[in-house]
Structure formats: C-alpha cells, structure tokens
C-alpha cells in the first residue's frame, strides 16, 4: 500500500467519522440551534476531508479541482442555510434583536 493510499484512507475515514458525529449530534442534541451546530461540522469537515482524500488519488488535476469545487459549493450552501435556518428558528423573545443584529 502506497503512502497516497494511506492518506486517502486516513482522510476519507476521518470524514466519515465527522459525518457520523454530525448525525449523532443532529439526533441527540436538545434544541434546534445546538443541532444546527452539529450539522455544520458534518457539512464542512466531513465532506471536505472526503473530497481531499479522494482528490489525491485522481489522475487529472481537472478532476481534483472538480472535487474541491464540490466541497466549496457545499460549504457555501451550508453557511447560507445555517444562517437562514438559525434566523427562522429564533425563539420569539429574541425576535426584537433581529433588526439590530441585521445592521
């Protein structure tokens, strides 16, 4: 087994672990916002580690770039949706701070 293979196994394995941790958090954490916190770890780190782990294996740099673009898109999506969902799930007594926070 080459060093590259070892790196791949390490990275993809770690990424999967982050996914499992994220899912466990989504299931176990008590309220919406802490679940959101768990979710973003899986999005950013889980997919990122898997993409990097696979990117070192592919033959063409274009394909590696594509893999990283997939990750970049997921990060962009996760950052946007977590922000929006967090706002939607804001408890009523914090609603008034919205305007101030929005400046």
């Amino acid at each position: 087994m080459s060093v590259l293979d070892l790196i791949t196994i390490l990275f993809t394995g770690a990424g999967t672990v982050f996914f499992i941790a994220g899912t466990a958090g989504l299931l176990r954490f008590p309220d919406t916002h802490s679940r959101l916190h768990a979710l973003t770890k899986a999005d950013h780190l889980g997919l990122g580690l898997i993409a990097v782990g696979l990117a070192v294996q592919v033959a063409s740099p274009l394909l590696a770039l594509k893999l990283l673009l997939v990750w970049g898109l997921a990060v962009l999506a996760a950052a946007t949706t977590s922000q929006l969902i967090a706002r939607v799930a804001l408890p009523p007594h914090l609603e008034r701070q919205k305007e101030n926070a929005g400046q």
Binding site: A79, L84, G102
Partner: protein, 316 residues
C-alpha cells in the same frame, strides 16, 4: 457481494422514504421527505450507471421540485386551506391491501423478465458512429428518437400555457410571481449573487459535455432554470413580465429550431433525419436552442401564473 449489499440498503432507504412521504401525518414533513427521496433516486440512477438520468433527477429533485412544493405548501397555509386527515381505518387498510397486490403483480412481472435480454444497446452502438455524438443517450434523444424530444419540448410549452391561463384577467401581462425581497448585503442576497456565476458555468458545462459524456440540454437547462429561480428568490432579478418579447422568443427558440431542422430533413426526404456528415453540428445547434427554452420554460413553470404587482407584496 458488497455492491449488491449496498444496492439492497439503498433500495430499503428509498422505500422507507417513499412510505414516509406518502403516509406522514403532516404536509410539510411529507414534502421534506419527498425532497430527500429525489436525492436518493439520483443515487439509485448512478448505481444503474444511468448518469444522464441521475443528473436530470438531481437537478429537478433537489432544485425545482423542492422550490415548487415548499412554496406551494406555504401558500396553501396562508390561504388557510385546512390540512386534515381522512378516511376510515378500514378504507385505508383496504386501499393498502389493493396497492400491495398491484405492486406484487408488477414485481412478479419484473422477476419474469428475461435477465439476459440484450435490449437495444447493441443496436444503438452500431449506429452511434453516424449519430454525430459520442454519448449514446444524447444520440437517442436528439437523433434516433428525436420525435419524442421534439414533442416533449412542446409539452413543456403547453404546460406553461396551462399555468398562465390560471391568472385572472387583470394580472395578465404582469410579472411571473411576486416581487421578492432580500436584505441588501445580507446572507440571502450575497448567496443570490455568488451562486449564479458558478451555476452558469456548471449549466453550460453540462450542455457542452453532453455530446461525449453524460449531460445535455435537459440537464443543463434545468440547472440554469434553478439558478435563475434562485436569483429571483434572492431579489437579485425580478421575474420578467410574461408579455416580454425576448422572453417569448426564448420560450419557442428551441422547439422552433428543432422543427425547422426537422422540416429541412423532410425536404431532403425524411422528417427529422439528420445527415450523418452534419449531425454533430446540427445536434449542438438544437441543444443550444433547447437549453435556452428548457431553462426559461421550467423557471416560469415554477414561478407560476403572472400576478398583479401589489403595493405591499401581500399575496392575494
């Protein structure tokens, strides 16, 4: 062994999600399950090595259907359409049994199919060289069975006419959907400005790639439609008025071009027959037109009938 186990697990997941989508007590939950279902279907198509279909399913299931159904459920809630559950337990049990037996019969038919039947793949392979493209699916769509595709693009237009005909008279000629708002400089607006550039590249890439590898006008067009819808939702671009000339040109460009090329074939002896020496370029031309038309038509279909612009944007 491993691949089969994976497929078995995937099928189980698909079925569980489907059951949840049709039987859940709550409408919104059922819609979220349906969005997840679209994603799992894309995985299933990849397992069947039908990547062209997977691309279509991913773009439609993850992009358009979600937008459409989530929007519809919210509008129904605003209209206070009551959400009730129904039917006696007995009637539901009888329905379940009937549906189960239908599924069983179809399943038995699946098992009776000849597992070694070669299908049409060898035939397509034989003629692929004269189709003008290297991707067999594109060859079938735009050359061997161009009829289907021409009629399909027309069906999209007819569906759009149906949607437009639901607007009331005063709203005719108005913008599709209502004007959306996003806080300037906010997350939503930033997202709506960042993503379209990447989406445009991916959409065009899919069309361009479609002649050699999975991709094509429908996949690319759907991605472009979704990107445009995102811009509309993020308040970056208003949906245009339905009376807009340019818009209407975009709607008919693909089918019209397709039909014209088909008619040219008819002059030369055979309707929709592409001469092998020009087939590649002609297909590229038709695909370019179809991409624009599919993108515009699907986006307008999701946006819905034209609305009068209300002063405060309150939905009627």
């Amino acid at each position: 062994m491993m691949p089969l186990a994976f497929d078995l697990f995937l099928c189980g997941l698909v079925l569980a999600v489907a059951v949840a989508a049709v039987s859940g007590r709550e409408l919104f939950g059922s819609i979220v399950f349906f969005i997840v279902y679209g994603l799992l279907m894309a995985l299933a198509w990849v397992r069947l090595e039908a990547v062209d279909v997977a691309l279509t399913e991913a773009a439609i299931g993850a992009g358009l259907t979600g937008l459409l159904l989530v929007g519809a459920s919210a509008r129904l809630r605003r209209l206070q359409a009551p959400e009730e559950e129904t039917g006696s337990r007995k009637a539901r049990a009888a329905t379940a049994i009937a549906c189960l037996s239908i599924a069983g019969l179809i399943g038995a038919a699946v098992l009776l199919l000849d597992p070694r039947a070669p299908g049409l793949a060898p035939m397509v392979d034989c003629s692929l060289a004269e189709s003008g493209v290297g991707n067999p699916v594109t060859a079938v769509l735009l050359n061997f069975r161009a009829y289907d595709t021409l009629l399909e693009s027309t069906v999209l237009l007819v569906a759009l006419l149906g949607v437009w005909s639901l607007s009331d008279e005063r709203s005719w000629g108005g913008h599709g959907g209502l004007r959306q708002y996003a806080r300037p400089g906010g997350v939503l607006a930033t997202f709506g400005r960042t993503l379209p550039a990447i989406g445009l590249i991916i959409g065009v890439y899919l069309v361009w790639a479609g002649s050699k590898q999975p991709g094509g006008a429908f996949q690319g067009g759907t991605v472009l439609a979704a990107v445009w819808l995102l811009m509309a939702v993020a308040g970056v671009a208003d949906a245009p008025r339905v009376s807009n000339r340019l818009l209407r040109l975009g709607l008919v460009a693909g089918p019209a071009l397709f039909l014209a090329i088909g008619m040219a074939g008819a002059m030369a002896g055979d309707f929709l027959r592409l001469p092998p020496e020009h087939a590649g370029n002609l297909i590229l031309l038709i695909e370019a037109g179809l991409t624009v038309s599919v993108a515009v038509t699907l986006a307008l279909l999701v946006v819905g009938p034209p609305q009068r612009d209300l002063p405060h944007g309150e939905p009627s």
